[in-house]
C-alpha cells in the first residue's frame, strides 16, 4: 500500500466550489415548532374563548405556552427520539426565557420613550425652569440645569472614586497583605449599603456641622459627588478586581522575569491587558451613580434654576428633576419628568457608547488611526487632518 498524491488543485474548477456551513436543522424542524405553536394557540383559544367566556390574557398565554411545550415534545420525540427531544425542548425553553426577560425591559424603555418624547423639545437642553408656572405647557422651559448638575456631580464623583477604587482593587489582587480579607469584606458590605445612607452620612458628617453658612459644606454638587462616590466605590473596586484576576499569571511572571518591579508590572502589563474590562468597570460605576436619587436628596438638594458651580449652592440633577417633577400635581410637570427620564436614559446610552469606543482593542484603533493618517497624508489637505487621532 503506497500513499497516493491528491490531484493538483488546478484540475478542480474553482467555480464549482461553494463555501457552506454545516447545518443540523431541517425545514421540518422549523415546521414542527410553528405547527406546535399554532395548534397550541388554537386549542387554548377554543377552551378560553369558545367553551368558557374567557379568563385573563395572562392565563391564556401561560396555558398556550405549556400546551405548546407538551405538543412540541411529543412531536419531536416521535420524529427524532428522546435524546433529541430533550435537547430541542430545552433549547426552546431557554430561548423563550431570553425573550421573556427582554419584554419588561423593552416595555419600560418604550413607555419612557413615548411619554418622554411628548414633552421633549430641543429647548429642554438649553433652558432651565425659570419663570415656569403650573399652567404653562409641558414643553415650556427645560432641564439644562439638571443635565449640567448630573454631569458635574457624576464627573466629580468619578474623580474621587476611580483612583481609590483602582488602588483598592490592586491592593486586593496584586498584594500579598494579610489585610486583604478584611478589606474585601468591607467592600462587600459597602456595596450592600442603601444609597440613602451614603447621602445621610455626608449630610450628618459634613453638611450639618459645617454647612450653616452655605459655601463648600452647604447643599451643593460637591457634597452630592462625595455621596455618589461612596455608592460608586464598591462597584468599581469589585469589578476591577474581578477583571484583574482574569489577567493570566504568566504575564506577570514574564514581566517580573525581565527585571520589572511589582508596581511597574501592574502599570505596564496588568492594566493594559485588563483595559477593556476596566473600562466596563468604570461604566458600571457611572451607570450606578448617574441614576441615584437618594444620595442627592440632602446633598445637592435640588434647584429649579441653572447653577453651573458645583462647589456652591444647591444644584439640580436629572434623577432629582424627575423625582421632583413627577410628584407635582400638574400634568405638564409630570410630562416634563418623563422627558427628564428619557434624557437620563440617553445620557447613560451615550456613556456606554463612549466606553465601548475607549475600551476597543488598542491595536485595532491604532490600525484605524494609521489608515486615517495615511489617507490624510495622501490627500491634499493633509495639514488640517493631523489631529485625527
Amino acid at each position: 500500500m503506497t500513499a497516493t498524491l491528491s490531484s493538483p488543485p488546478a484540475t478542480r474548477t474553482p467555480a464549482a466550489r461553494r463555501p457552506r456551513r454545516p447545518r443540523e436543522r431541517t425545514p421540518a424542524d422549523l415546521w414542527s415548532v410553528v405547527g406546535s405553536a399554532i395548534s397550541a394557540l388554537c386549542l387554548n383559544w377554543l377552551i378560553f374563548y369558545r367553551f368558557t367566556d374567557g379568563a385573563s390574557l395572562f392565563g391564556f398565554a401561560l396555558c398556550s405556552y405549556v400546551t405548546f411545550l407538551v405538543l412540541f415534545t411529543v412531536v419531536t420525540r416521535d420524529r427524532l427520539g428522546r435524546l433529541v427531544a430533550a435537547d430541542r425542548v430545552m433549547t426552546v425553553v431557554v430561548m423563550s426565557a431570553g425573550v421573556i426577560v427582554m419584554v419588561p425591559l423593552l416595555l419600560l424603555i418604550g413607555y419612557i420613550l413615548i411619554e418622554g418624547v411628548k414633552a421633549l423639545r430641543i429647548t429642554f437642553f438649553v433652558r432651565d425652569q425659570l419663570g415656569i408656572t403650573p399652567l404653562m405647557d409641558s414643553t415650556a422651559g427645560g432641564g439644562a440645569h439638571a443635565i449640567v448638575g448630573t454631569l458635574e456631580q457624576v464627573g466629580l464623583a468619578l474623580l474621587w472614586s476611580l483612583p481609590l477604587g483602582l488602588a483598592a482593587a490592586v491592593f486586593l489582587n496584586e498584594s500579598r497583605s494579610k489585610w486583604r480579607r478584611p478589606v474585601r469584606i468591607f467592600v462587600d458590605a459597602m456595596s450592600g449599603l442603601p444609597s440613602i445612607i451614603a447621602g445621610l452620612f455626608i449630610f450628618a458628617t459634613l453638611i450639618l456641622p459645617f454647612g450653616h453658612t452655605g459655601g463648600l459644606f452647604g447643599f451643593n454638587g460637591f457634597m452630592a459627588s462625595l455621596a455618589l462616590a461612596i455608592t460608586m466605590l464598591p462597584t468599581i473596586t469589585r469589578t476591577v478586581e474581578v477583571v484583574l484576576r482574569l489577567v493570566p499569571d504568566g504575564l506577570r511572571e514574564a514581566s517580573l522575569a525581565m527585571g520589572a518591579s511589582r508596581a511597574r508590572t501592574v502599570w505596564s502589563v496588568v492594566f493594559p491587558t485588563a483595559r477593556t474590562g476596566m473600562t466596563t468597570a468604570v461604566v458600571l460605576g457611572i451607570a450606578r451613580a448617574v441614576g441615584e436619587t437618594a444620595p442627592l436628596l440632602f446633598t445637592a438638594f435640588g434647584y429649579d434654576l441653572m447653577n453651573t458651580n458645583p462647589f456652591s449652592g444647591a444644584q439640580e440633577s436629572l434623577p432629582l428633576f424627575v423625582y421632583r417633577n413627577i410628584r407635582k400635581p400638574d400634568l405638564s410637570a409630570i410630562a416634563r419628568g418623563f422627558a427628564g427620564a428619557l434624557v437620563l436614559m440617553l445620557i447613560v446610552l451615550a456613556l456606554f457608547a463612549v466606553a465601548r469606543y475607549l475600551g476597543r482593542d488598542r491595536s485595532k484603533r491604532r490600525a484605524a488611526s494609521n489608515r486615517r493618517r495615511s489617507a490624510a497624508l495622501s490627500s491634499a489637505a493633509a495639514s488640517s487632518a493631523g489631529a485625527s487621532s
Binding site: 511572571e253 514574564a254 522575569a257 525581565m258 527585571g259 505596564s268 493594559p272 491595536s363
Partner: protein, 291 residues
C-alpha cells in the same frame, strides 16, 4: 555530538540569517546588564514549598557561553531549580531556599541584593508562550526596556537585532504593529525569546521552551539557541532527550525518589552523559528505559 550544526537541523535558507546575526549586540543599552555571557554556579542549593523539601543539595556549574541542559522525569525539581537561578522561586507564597547561587562569583541571594537587578541579567523563557496581548510585536520586543527602565537610542535597531537573533525577523518585519497574540504558537515563543534577548541578558533560562511547539518551530528555536551560545549562557529544561543531545554542551540529570526531594544524579558533558554515563539510573533514563 556536541556540535549542534548537524546537517538535519539546518537548511540553507537560514544560513544567511545566521551569519548576519552572528555578531554580538551592535545596539548599546544604557542601564542594562554588563556585556557578555556569565557563569552561573549553584552550591548546595535547596528549595522548599512550605514544609516540603523539593530540591536538596544541588551543586552545578553552568559555564559562560555554554548550553546546559537539565534533564529528568517530571516532578524532580528541574523547573524549581531553574527558578532558583533568577530569583523567581521566591515569588511563590511559602517558597524558601538554602545554599548559594553565584552569578559570576557573586551570590544572587546575598542580603541587600535586589531581585530585579538579578532578573534583568538572568532572563527567562517560559513553557507556554506568553507575549503581552495588549502590546504589538514591536512593543513586546521593547517591553523589557520599559519594564526594567533601560534606555536605548536605537530602538528600531534593537527590535531588528533581537528578532533576528530569535530568527523571527523575516516573518514579522512587515507587521511589527500587529498584536503579538496574533502570531502562531511557535512564532509567539520566538517572540518571547526576542523579548528576553532585547535587554541583552548574561544568562537565558528556558523552561521546556519547545513543549508546546511543532517540529518545525522546535527546530527554529534550537537554531536560535545555537546562535545565542556565544553571547549568552543558556540553561534549558527539556524532556526531550534528542533535543538535549542536539542543543547542549553539558547535561545534568535530576531525579527524585518517591516522596524524596530531587537531587542531581550525574552531570557532565553531553557526550559523556549520553554515551557512557557512570550511574545506571542515568543510563536507563537517557536510553528511554524509564521516566
Amino acid at each position: 555530538m556536541t556540535d549542534l550544526a548537524t546537517s538535519d537541523t539546518v537548511d540553507l535558507t537560514d544560513q544567511t540569517t545566521r551569519s548576519a546575526s552572528r555578531p554580538a549586540s551592535s545596539v548599546a543599552l544604557i542601564g542594562g546588564p554588563p556585556p557578555g555571557a556569565a557563569t552561573l554556579e549553584a552550591r548546595d542549593a535547596c528549595a522548599w514549598f512550605g514544609d516540603h523539601l523539593v530540591l536538596e543539595g544541588v551543586d552545578l556549574t553552568m559555564p559562560a557561553g555554554k548550553v546546559t541542559a537539565l534533564i529528568g522525569p517530571s516532578g524532580c525539581g528541574k523547573s524549581t531549580f531553574l527558578r532558583l537561578l533568577n530569583r523567581m522561586h521566591e515569588l511563590i507564597p511559602g517558597a524558601a531556599l538554602d545554599g548559594h547561587i553565584l552569578l559570576d562569583g557573586e551570590d544572587i541571594y546575598e542580603n541587600g541584593r535586589r531581585a530585579q537587578q538579578i532578573r534583568m541579567r538572568v532572563g527567562m523563557v517560559f513553557q507556554k508562550p506568553n507575549p503581552f496581548p495588549a502590546m504589538t510585536i514591536r512593543e513586546n520586543v521593547l517591553s523589557g526596556l520599559k519594564l526594567a527602565r533601560i534606555k536605548c537610542d536605537d530602538k528600531d535597531g534593537l527590535v531588528e537585532e533581537s528578532l533576528s537573533r530569535a530568527s523571527l525577523w523575516k516573518e514579522v518585519r512587515d507587521r511589527l504593529d500587529r498584536p503579538g497574540g496574533a502570531l502562531s504558537g511557535g512564532q509567539q515563543q520566538r517572540l518571547c525569546i526576542a523579548r528576553s534577548l532585547a535587554v541583552q541578558p548574561n544568562v537565558l533560562l528556558m523552561d521546556e521552551p519547545c513543549s508546546a511547539l511543532d517540529p518545525t518551530s522546535t527546530r527554529r528555536v534550537e537554531e536560535t539557541i545555537a546562535e545565542l551560545r556565544d553571547n549568552v549562557t543558556v540553561v534549558i529544561v527539556t524532556h526531550n532527550m534528542q533535543q538535549a543531545q542536539r542543543v547542549s554542551d553539558r547535561c545534568a540529570f535530576f531525579l527524585a525518589e518517591e516522596n524524596q526531594p530531587g537531587f542531581v544524579v550525574e552531570q557532565g558533558t553531553t557526550h559523556d552523559m549520553f554515551s557512557n554515563p557512570v550511574d545506571t539510573r542515568t543510563l536507563n533514563y537517557v536510553q528511554g528505559r524509564f521516566g
